[in-house]
């Protein structure tokens, strides 16, 4: 059973390998897209590495809910509507969506997910000690 630090270390390794960033750049507060430069195709790579590192399954759309963010039902004029936000909260209980909810412009979503959010996501899948 890993510790929280071990979870962070493995996620850091995955991000360093997938994104070619320096280890020092991967801080808990760093955003994947904004700070670490992740693009959509990188999320596929990151998911592969997380699944391998933690022996978990990451269902499509659970960590990066592209289906919600591109749905005509939930997105109007480039913004997520209330129903879409609710869907997002249900899908991503590990992420702090309050700031995004105040201005739910879809293009801002890329700057939402942090390394810390990913740690919380993994911890929801893997029992952690400490």
């Amino acid at each position: 059973m890993p510790t929280k630090q071990e979870v962070l270390d493995k996620i850091t390794t995955a991000l360093v390998e997938a994104l070619g960033v320096d280890e020092e750049e991967v801080t808990p507060q760093a955003t994947l897209a904004g700070d670490l430069g992740a693009e959509s195709i990188d999320f596929l790579d990151i998911v592969f590495r997380l699944e391998k590192a933690f022996n978990i399954k990451v269902p499509r759309g659970e960590l990066f809910p592209e289906d919600i963010l591109t749905s005509a039902e939930y997105v109007q004029d480039g913004k997520l509507n209330a129903e879409g936000l609710e869907q997002l909260r249900q899908r991503m209980p590990f992420a702090d969506l309050d700031a995004f909810a105040s201005n739910p412009t879809v293009k801002n979503f890329g700057n939402l997910l942090t390394v810390e959010d990913m740690c919380r996501y993994v911890e929801s899948k893997v029992p952690v000690v400490g």
Binding site: L44, D45, K52, R60
Partner: protein
């Protein structure tokens, strides 16, 4: 010109691993420009050959029903330059295949010397009309026949790999792929 940067498969285990070779020859034009008087196989073309080795391995796993494209190369290390006379041996191992893509780890060797190490991520394209046009299964089957996959290929349970049913009648005529106009013309 066909954009094929491997010469032949020497091993092909469906869903797991493939090996292909690429002979570096001074008869190839690009070596005289890269560089004049100092011919060196471009690492970008080695990367392409490795990606083709891995890409066919990934595509075959789903019988080419998924449209496989090279998405990214997270890692590429080249340890020395390949020169005319070298035979590059590319080895690709599937790390993962999911609904939305796959990753392979791969190496290039000259003899026993490790020449390059790579990771390659492939994505599965949506089934759009454009993708269907670009990725007709028959094109891949033709390429696999050309490269000898069906001579050495094995399925995951060790049986000999066979061409997908219904595609065996494809043949090459004047460099283009055509189905035979009449029964009996097929000579695959």
């Amino acid at each position: 010109m066909r954009w094929i940067w491997i010469d032949k498969f020497i091993e092909f285990e469906s869903g797991k691993r493939a090996q292909a070779i690429k002979n570096v020859s001074l008869a190839e034009d690009y070596l005289h420009d890269h560089f004049p008087g100092c011919p060196v196989m471009p690492n970008s073309l080695i990367a392409e050959g490795i990606a083709q080795t891995g890409g066919l391995l990934v595509g075959e796993y789903n019988h080419f029903e998924e449209k496989v494209i090279l998405a990214k190369i997270p890692k590429a290390l080249f340890h020395f330059a390949a020169v005319p006379g070298d035979t590059l041996r590319y080895t690709a191992n599937i790390e993962y295949i999911k609904d939305d893509g796959a990753m392979v780890s791969a190496t290039s060797h000259v003899g026993d010397r490790l020449q390059a190490e790579m990771e390659v991520v492939f994505a599965h394209l949506d089934d759009s009309n454009r993708a269907r046009t670009l990725f007709e299964p028959k094109n891949f089957v033709f390429t696999m026949k050309l490269l000898g996959v069906f001579d050495v290929g094995r399925s995951a349970d060790g049986r000999r790999l066979v061409e997908p049913a219904g595609l065996a009648a494809i043949r090459a005529v004047g460099g283009d792929l055509q189905r035979p106009a009449q029964a009996g013309q097929c000579n695959t």
